[in-house]
């Protein structure tokens, strides 16, 4: 059923309408990934490969399982069945499975194929063409043929292939998933032969699993990968098969031809760029593809998404899908190529190859996977059953994120062209050679639509995600600092844009043209320099501002309204009865005390401490005697500071007194009977203390602010009843209770006070209201619920420590400028906005991201470049005033297909996420859900309508670059913030966290990473700790397993009820599940598994810049339910499973089409 098309459109899944209509269950989904040209860098390719592999592999893997579900569930196509299948597939894939797989898979696979066939055929037969998913979207003809044939073809292919070629197994069988992995793996294996061999042998199952890791490493070594390609060739064979199969389908052939035609077209593309190889493959499609396509396809497709993708996708899908993928690929590839060339060239062919398979795999997967899987599983019976429900989608073959842990090198520009950045979640080293590192700023699309119409047609958002102080990769070169002396940085005299590498010097260097507004400026005399023959200034390479995308200028007096502020930290600690009794106060004090050492050194660092319950207690440390003086502000309706100075003292001088005080505070309030909390008054008081200088206010809050200024009522009880009664106003409980805190926050921001709130609570604290304060002042909320004195202090300390020691700036002002034609529409994030053009950031740190949306106010010329410049004027912790200028220049295009190809999934999704989060408090939940799903549908529809018109309407066609969009959208619709029955605070926290979340954390927040940890030491992988993710589906959870799921914030360790005592002993030091403590404090025991687990967790912590809040989850517990609530691919009472969702999306698109 599935076909991948190579065109610009990456992945495609086809459904037959009839199937659809007939029965949801019968719907087949084919996912096709078009070849994405991968970056040249060998590393990146490998990554891309791996990712693609992974993605594709899952389909395979899942494929097998799916069949079963389908069998049984056949009736319920979408549902649990899929899950079961996946589980089945999983075990094998993930763990020891490999070996078994090999055996079974082969066997099964072969047998499998038949089932698929049989199963599919029925559908196909019933709905002849419908079921077949061809990459068709782009290439209608192809798809059409495929569709009908696909099923058959695929099946056939698998069958045929399996025997002779591995490909079949991989593609068709459950092994496919494995197969996919194997492929990746195979490349590494280097010995294509071996790879092949393995595929053959147990290619599918065992290899896939084992391979993935291997694959990655292989990727590293491009050459090796090629061999794998050979493997791919095998897949091609399958393809070859497909074609043959196609013939059966009358339509198919015809369609193919179109493809063929496309391929031809592709060549041109290929030709243009370096892609020829690709093109070659694509063109060769069936013949040549194997080799070339695989490489290009995989690599390109994922990394580049757009460009290479087409070829690669094409190839990949084609190969696996059999004929179709290739065809698809070509079409897509063609368009892509033009752009890709340059890029592609860089990408390593080897890498490319891997991807193709990946892609190919998926495409082939759908139909085939079904059948093969069951076999693979060895559950032939199942297969049989499955067969009955052939039409279903194989969950194992649908797109899923593929992690890659290998490091790629990313050059931001090449040949005067912007390069398409690697996924935000991947591990890359950015090399700034004109454009900024994508860590600092990246756009939702890497080509800018020339007109607003084109943009709105695409339904995609145009926005920048700016993370101005983002942490660089350790291997990246630091941002250069430029000092223009007293005159300050050179700026355009009209738009005030800062000098950058895209400003064009003319008239022998005497004048320069602003790349933002087009104004011609005189070059200041002392900045004058001759131009070289290439039209660049001769000194361009020596001047960072003329050759780097990001530089930092030293600000002159002109940029200061006062002396740069010192770094001042004011700690506010809740000492009300509950806070003291739950240990929150002690934890906060100890965290602060330990963190003092991490505050910036120097005489300008000031520290103050205050505590509060129903009144506010300041401490005057500047005293003759050692004892501080405690000053209580009892008037919490009209707050003031008791002293003019001395509340904040120099850290260096008073470190000891501070430590002493912090040590004393818990005991001083030991018997405090005050249950009330004057949070609002306390932050006001803290603000007043900071008012003269500005600074950071760090608040540790444990109970609902119940008295004084900004006191809140417990809305939760009320909220819950309302929700249950279906009140349409329920979302209002997620809005701030009143404007008091907002007004205060604006005042705070005006005086450069940034508030961070650490909520250590057992109860409702109305985060919706209090998060306004950090949200407006550039701070953030930390949430520890329910606070546990045993397990949480560690995280509290680490969060605090990171908060104060991470790279950050104060009293910042940020503005984004862009080329004429666009204008900033809106900023969103944690800041305060007083004038339309700038945003004020009392605090800005490396974790904060600001989203900037744009709208057209004019047209761009095709091939013009659109520049973005973000300038952040800030004061460093050491009191230097700096202007960080971040430049990004992207090509403009008139082609919708280019837009889709250059779409940046991660960025776009982060954008959706933020938009959804901001509308949660504003609209009823159902409406928000509808909005995000519609957004997804609209985009896919636009692609379907304008870029894949050729394909049959029965196919669900996903642009390669956005192939994960449905998955993420689904996950988003199930995330905490959008849960109907979630606690208000949990949801509000989610909303507030999302507001400033970086792209790289946005994805895991919604689609967490799950890995198994019981087999950490036995699992074969490529050495990277985090390579093998498990899809978030409960079918992949085994009772005897232990799993770690992390979303960048929480780490849930799920212990299956049958977990081996030995493993438990190793990890937790207890011998039975019942002996597990309710609160987890992870220790390191003296055994490999424990060490490895700690390593893994530390790795994650490092990666996420977050100390995970570890929790133990056990089956049958509420904690277990919590864990399961993260299984976003599962069907839940109120929400669809992933497969169902795809069906839903497809149906919607079809409705729109008709």
């Amino acid at each position: 059923m599935m076909c991948s098309a190579d065109d610009e459109l990456p992945a495609v899944a086809c459904f037959s309408l009839k199937h659809f209509t007939v029965l949801a269950a019968t719907m087949d989904v084919a996912v096709m990934t078009s070849l994405a040209p991968i970056r040249c860098s060998s590393v990146s390719p490998s990554r891309s490969l791996s990712t693609s592999m992974a993605s594709s592999s899952p389909p395979f893997a899942s494929g097998p399982p799916q069949p079963r579900p389908w069998f049984s569930p056949t009736p319920d196509p979408n549902v649990a069945g899929a899950a079961q299948n996946s589980q089945i597939g999983r075990p094998q894939t993930s763990s020891g499975a490999p070996p078994p797989f090999a055996g079974p898979t082969l066997a099964s696979s072969r047998p499998g194929p038949p089932p698929p066939f049989s199963s599919r055929p029925p559908p196909s037969g019933a709905v002849p063409q419908g079921p077949i998913a061809s990459n068709g979207p782009p290439v209608p003809g192809f798809t059409a043929p495929r569709i009908p044939p696909t099923p058959s073809v695929q099946k056939a292919a698998p069958v045929g292939t399996p025997a002779s070629i591995r490909a079949p197994p991989p593609s068709a069988t459950a092994s496919q998933a494995p197969g996919v992995r194997p492929f990746p793996g195979s490349p590494p294996a280097g010995a294509s032969l071996t790879a092949h061999a393995s595929p053959f042998v147990g290619p599918p199952a065992s290899q896939p699993f084992g391979r993935p890791p291997a694959v990655q490493s292989p990727f590293a070594g491009p050459p090796t990968s090629q061999p794998s390609f050979t493997g791919s060739p095998t897949s091609q064979r399958p393809f070859g098969g497909p074609p043959t199969s196609q013939p059966p389908f009358a339509g198919a052939p015809t369609s193919q031809r179109p493809f063929a035609g496309q391929p031809t077209s592709q060549p041109p593309f290929a030709g243009q760029p370096t892609s020829q190889p690709f093109s070659g493959p694509s063109a060769q499609a069936f013949t040549g593809r194997p080799t070339s396509q695989p490489y290009t396809g995989p690599l390109t497709s994922q990394p580049y998404a757009g460009r290479p993708s087409s070829p690669s996708y094409m190839g990949a899908p084609a190969s696996q899908p059999f004929s179709q993928p290739p065809t698809m690929g070509t079409p897509f590839g063609v368009p892509a190529w033009p752009l890709q060339p340059g890029q592609v060239a860089p990408s390593m062919p080897g890498n490319v190859q891997a991807p193709p398979r990946m892609f190919g795999m998926p495409p082939g997967m759908p139909g085939q996977s079904m059948s093969p899987v069951p076999p693979a599983m060895g559950h032939t019976p199942l297969a049989g059953s499955q067969v009955s429900t052939p039409s279903k989608i194989d969950p194992n073959q649908i797109p899923r994120p593929m992690p890659s842990s290998s490091v790629t090198v990313f050059e931001t520009r090449h040949g005067n062209q912007a390069n398409v950045p690697p996924p935000a979640t991947s591990n890359f080293v950015a090399k700034d050679n004109g454009n900024c590192s994508p860590r600092l700023m990246r756009c939702t699309m890497n080509q800018i639509p020339c007109t607003g119409d084109l943009l709105s047609t695409s339904s995609m958002p145009l926005a920048l995600m700016v993370q101005p102080l983002a942490l660089p990769h350790p291997s990246e070169e630091p941002i250069q600092i430029v000092d223009f002396g007293e005159s300050g940085p050179i700026r355009c005299s009209r738009c005030k844009g800062y000098i950058n590498s895209f400003m064009r010097f003319i008239d022998h260097g005497r004048r320069f043209v602003c790349n933002l507004c087009g104004f011609t400026n005189e070059t200041p005399r002392d900045y004058y320099c001759n131009l070289g023959p290439d039209g660049r200034r001769r000194d361009a390479d020596e001047r960072p501002e003329l050759c780097r995308g990001t530089v930092e200028f030293i600000a002159t007096r002109e940029y200061m309204v006062r002396d740069p502020m010192p770094a001042v930290f004011f700690f506010l600690i809740d000492v009300s009865m509950n806070a003291v009794q739950t240990g929150a106060t002690a934890a906060a004090c100890s965290a602060i005390s330990q963190s003092l050492a991490d505050l910036p050194d120097g005489p300008r660092t000031g520290v103050g401490v205050a505590t509060f319950d129903c009144s506010i207690h300041f401490y005057n440390l500047k005293r003759a005697s050692q004892q501080p003086l405690m000053l209580i502000i009892p008037d919490i309706h009209d707050v003031y500071t008791p002293l003019h100075s001395d509340i904040i003292v120099q850290l260096t001088e008073y470190r000891q007194s501070l430590e002493q005080l912090l040590e004393n505070i818990p005991s001083m309030f030991e018997s405090n009977k005050v249950a009330e909390s004057a949070f609002g008054a306390a932050i006001k008081a803290g603000f007043l203390a900071l008012k003269p200088t500005g600074g950071k206010l760090l608040v540790f809050q444990s109970v609902l602010p119940s008295v004084g200024v900004g006191s809140l009522s417990s809305r939760e009880a009320e909220g819950r009843t309302n929700v249950s009664s279906g009140d349409k106003e329920a979302h209002k409980l997620l809005q701030p209770a009143d404007k008091t805190l907002k007004t205060m926050a604006i005042e705070f921001a005006e005086y450069q006070v940034c508030v961070d709130i650490f909520v250590t609570t057992q109860t409702f604290v109305d985060i919706a209201s209090i998060s306004v304060v950090p949200g407006t002042t550039g701070g953030q909320v930390y949430y520890y619920y329910p606070f546990n004195a045993l397990s949480d202090p560690g995280k509290l300390y680490n969060d605090l420590r990171w908060n104060i020691s991470r790279p950050q700036g104060f009293e910042a002002v940020m503005r984004v400028r862009c080329s004429q034609g666009l204008q900033v529409q809106e900023y969103s994030g944690n800041f305060c906005k007083r004038i339309p053009t700038d945003i004020d950031l009392p605090g800005i740190d490396c974790d904060k991201t600001i989203m900037v949306t744009f709208k057209h106010d004019d047209k761009f010329q095709d091939n013009a470049e659109c520049a973005f410049q973000c300038a952040v004027l800030h004061t460093t912790v050491y009191g230097q005033r700096r202007i960080r200028v971040i430049n990004l220049s992207l090509p403009c295009t008139n082609m919708l297909s280019s837009l889709f190809r250059s779409a940046d999934l991660d960025t776009q999704f982060a954008c959706f996420l933020k938009q959804a989060a901001s509308s949660i408090p504003m609209s009823p939940l159902s409406q928000v859900r509808e909005q995000i799903i519609n957004l997804c549908i609209n985009i896919l529809y636009a692609y379907r309508k304008f870029c894949a018109t050729v394909s049959s309407s029965g196919q669900l066609i996903l642009p390669e670059a956005l192939k994960l969009l449905p998955l993420y959208t689904l996950a988003l619709s199930k995330s905490i913030g959008l849960q109907n029955d979630g606690r208000l605070d949990d949801r509000s926290y989610w909303v507030s966290r999302v507001a400033s979340l970086s792209i790289s954390l946005a994805i895991p927040l919604v689609y967490p990473r799950m890995i198994s940890i019981h087999d950490l030491t036995t699992r074969e992988d490529d050495g990277s700790l985090l390579s093998s993710n498990i899809p978030l589906s409960s079918e992949h959870i085994n009772d005897d397993g232990i799993y770690l799921l992390e979303n960048g914030e929480d780490g849930l360790i799920y212990v299956g009820s049958m977990a081996s005592p030995e493993t438990l002993q190793k990890i937790f030091g207890v011998s039975s599940v019942d002996g597990l403590p309710s609160q987890l404090v992870l220790q390191q025991f003296d055994n490999d598994l424990s060490k490895k687990l700690n390593e893994v967790i530390n790795e994650i912590r490092q990666q996420r810049c977050s100390y995970l809040r570890l929790r133990l989850c056990r089956k049958g517990d509420p904690s277990g339910l919590l864990f399961l609530s993260y299984m976003v691919e599962d069907k839940t009472p109120g929400a669809l499973s992933y497969v169902e969702f795809l069906v839903h999306v497809h149906r919607q698109i079809q409705n729109k089409m008709s």
Partner: protein
């Protein structure tokens, strides 16, 4: 005179008329009101303290006294006030002419009762220090050392609290063991007792009662929560000293063209509320140490802007002191609160400039507080006075708390009111006169703070109409008075002092001489001083000079010996002879001539006047002047410029100042050091004698007077000259004798005054 002193020694009472005019008409003709200056706690050495409750009349509640008629057979006593016959209770059954209870002894017209049964347990006295910090470091140092000395002297059983203020008010929680801790309140914002209750966490962890008055441990507050702020003196030394040690100048910077932000009124209000919450109805003193004008809060007296001067008498007269009225109103309400709670406000105002004593007066005076005005906390006027408060040696003040003063008198006498440190309790009764002077319209007054010297001036009205029936009764030529003073003794015990008096009255023609025989000139002068001060403060457009003159003239017309229209025939009986001189000096005194003084000083002088006994009041009106010379023993001399001589040393005691004035020659000799030469030992003695005398005065006086040692023609000599009768001025015809002095003034001299008096009196 001496008989009056004897009477005073027995009962602490001096009266203007010791023989009363018998009818209302007669009384009006006497010009000066019937008034008594009573010192309730005057130490009377032989006064017994009876360990039981007093026996009271069933009807008028007066206490059994020596003037009661006792029927020993029937065991009945007749109340002299209402003539009610009362049976003695069982425990008096053994009474007989030979077996009298002490209260019936004729010499015990003043007696004390101290019954623990009736008055409950001993109450600790409470001292709440309210300390200004808007001062230069030096002043703060002085104050700190004074305070720490005081802390050592505090009675063991007393409780201590501390509030400091400046821009903000800090209520120190002395009972918090971990570290110095204080509650900080904003100075510009008034805070009610209720808010205080909430904000000071008195109900931490417990629900607050919804109804009823919440105050004190008996009404809802836990002893622990009170002990946070008021700690026993025996335990406070370390804590208080450590807090005081760290006490610093108010940290808020003051622009050079501004006054410090000082919230005296809010601090006092918080202090009052705190005491009201913690120990209502038990003796407590708020001791305020103020180093400058209040500029924040409801009681501010001047804006912060230095360009605006602090109000003067002129401003007050013209009504151009916009903050004055508001501040007074604030302190009036504060005084009501304090009176209600039974707490005292003491004021120690030490600043070169005014601090707002005039506004604070009402609160200090009504609560019977101590007031000390000095230029600096380093000045001995403050230092020594302050130390005296806590000294338990010879001259201790005998501070008592929480007093209630009640009056009973014969039905023909009514009470117009009291001028003095007390507050009306609004207990109306038939005794209340319709005309009110001072705290009137009541027969009971609150004296939150009183000491051995506190003296009240009661103004009476003779209500008796002319008529024959008055004569018919045998006892009717006697008026009876009974003064009851309930108070918390400094040892914490509640006591009742009862003073019962009887005075005869005369009516009808020919009574003039009889009345004159009972006239007490000194008391009259003291009463006139109080009345004129009172009238100046309360009556707008009051012309004190004119009023005094008219009173004097009328008095002299009535009681003088003269032939009509013949000034030269005018003479005064010795009973009245000094009175014109008192009035002359009163006219020139700081009480009447206010324009040389700031409103603060005037208020200060009047407050002291109003609480002092007759002798001291007379000194304030007409200072005493003693001359020391080689020619004679120390002798009092006329308060006249002619007393100045080059070879004399003069000692002037004007109560507030003690001046030792060296004549020009004496000064020269002294400067030459003759006193150090053995052969001039007598000179040394001469120099020393007035100093010794001055020291003796200083030692027994409170507040401690200012000692000025000066030389003739020196600048400080003005302290003497201003008090002297300007008989010789720069434009006198007769020049002063050699070594004498002249006064640069246009004021009339006593001779001129007397001439006019004679002329007018005989008209």
């Amino acid at each position: 005179m001496s008989e009056f002193l004897d009477l005073e020694a027995q009962d602490g009472v001096r009266m203007t008329w010791n023989t009363f005019p018998g009818t209302k008409q007669e009384a009006l003709g006497c010009v000066l009101p019937v008034a008594a200056i009573y010192t309730p706690l005057k130490s009377i050495p032989d006064t017994p303290v009876l360990p039981y409750s007093p026996l009271r009349c069933r009807i008028c509640r007066s206490v059994l006294n020596p003037f009661s008629v006792v029927d020993y057979v029937a065991k009945i006593w007749i109340c002299p006030f209402c003539f009610q016959r009362n049976h003695f209770p069982q425990h008096y059954m053994s009474i007989s002419e030979d077996n009298l209870p002490a209260e019936l002894f004729p010499q015990y017209t003043t007696i004390e009762y101290a019954s623990s049964v009736e008055t409950g347990p001993k109450m600790p006295s409470v001292f709440l220090f309210v300390v200004d910090t808007c001062m230069i470091e030096e002043e703060i140092m002085f104050l700190k050392s004074a305070l720490s000395q005081a802390i050592e002297l505090l009675p063991e059983n007393s409780l201590v609290g501390l509030i400091t203020f400046g821009t903000y008010i800090q209520v120190h929680e002395l009972g918090f063991g971990h570290m110095p801790k204080s509650y900080v309140f904003k100075g510009s914002k008034e805070i009610t007792k209720d808010q205080l209750l909430d904000q000071m966490c008195f109900f931490a962890g417990r629900p607050r009662p919804n109804v009823g008055v919440i105050a004190g441990p008996r009404d809802g507050l836990s002893a622990e929560s009170i002990a946070r702020f008021l700690i026993p003196a025996s335990e406070c030394e370390f804590v208080l000293n450590s807090v005081l040690e760290e006490l610093q100048k108010d940290p808020w910077t003051v622009p050079s063209d501004q006054r410090a932000s000082r919230c005296t009124s809010t601090a006092l209000s918080i202090a009052a509320s705190l005491l009201g919450l913690c120990i209502p109805g038990s003796g407590a003193r708020i001791m305020a140490f103020v180093g400058g004008p209040s500029t924040e809060g409801a009681g501010s007296i001047v804006s912060k802007n230095l360009s605006e001067p602090i109000r003067s008498h002129k401003d007050l007269d013209k009504g151009s002191a916009p903050l004055y009225g508001k501040a007074v109103k604030f302190y009036e309400s504060l005084s009501k609160q304090l009176v209600h709670q039974g707490h005292v406000l003491d004021l120690f105002a030490c600043a070169p400039d005014q601090v707002g004593v005039a506004e604070l007066k009402v609160a200090v005076e009504r609560t019977g507080g101590i007031v000390v005005l000095a230029e600096s906390f380093g000045h001995c006027v403050f230092k020594d006075s302050f130390r005296r408060i806590f000294q338990t040696t010879d001259y201790d003040l005998g501070l008592a708390f929480n007093g209630v003063f009640e009056v009973n008198c014969s039905k023909d006498v009514k009470v117009q009111g009291i001028i003095g440190p007390c507050a009306s309790l609004d207990k109306k009764g038939p005794l209340c006169a319709e005309t009110v002077v001072g705290q009137g319209n009541t027969t009971a007054w609150k004296m939150c703070g009183l000491d051995k010297k506190t003296s009240l001036c009661l103004i009476f009205e003779i209500a008796r109409k002319d008529g024959p029936e008055a004569v018919s009764q045998p006892t009717s030529n006697q008026f009876y008075f009974q003064f009851l003073t309930y108070y918390q003794h400094s040892d914490g015990q509640m006591r009742l002092r009862v003073t019962t008096l009887s005075r005869g009255w005369l009516a009808g023609p020919g009574s003039t001489q009889g009345l004159l025989a009972g006239f007490d000139q000194e008391t009259a002068a003291a009463v006139m001083a109080r009345i004129v001060s009172f009238k100046m403060e309360t009556e707008s457009d009051f012309d004190p000079i004119r009023w005094l003159d008219r009173s004097l003239i009328r008095l002299c017309s009535k009681f003088g010996d003269y032939q009509k229209d013949s000034p030269s025939s005018f003479s005064l009986s010795p009973r009245l002879s000094i009175f014109p001189q008192f009035i002359f000096h009163l006219r020139r005194s700081q009480f009447v001539q206010v324009f040389n003084n700031s409103p603060d000083e005037t208020a200060y002088y009047r407050m002291i006047l109003n609480r002092e006994n007759v002798a001291n009041a007379v000194v304030m009106v007409q200072p005493s002047l003693i001359s020391y010379s080689f020619h004679s023993a120390p002798e009092p001399v006329l308060l006249d410029v002619s007393a100045i001589a080059a070879d004399r040393i003069l000692l002037l005691d004007s109560y507030f100042t003690v001046v030792v004035f060296h004549g020009a020659s004496i000064a020269q000799w002294r400067n030459a050091g003759y006193q150090n030469q053995p052969e001039h030992e007598t000179f040394a003695y001469l120099l020393k004698a007035p100093r010794d005398e001055a020291d003796a005065i200083i030692k027994e006086r409170f507040p401690v007077p200012r000692l000025v040692v000066c030389d003739q023609h020196g600048s400080q000599a003005r302290f003497l000259l201003v008090k002297l009768n300007p008989s010789v001025t720069y434009n006198s015809n007769n020049p002063p004798p050699p070594g004498g002095d002249i006064i640069f003034t246009d004021d009339v001299s006593f001779e001129v005054f007397l001439d006019h008096l004679q002329r007018l009196a005989v008209q």
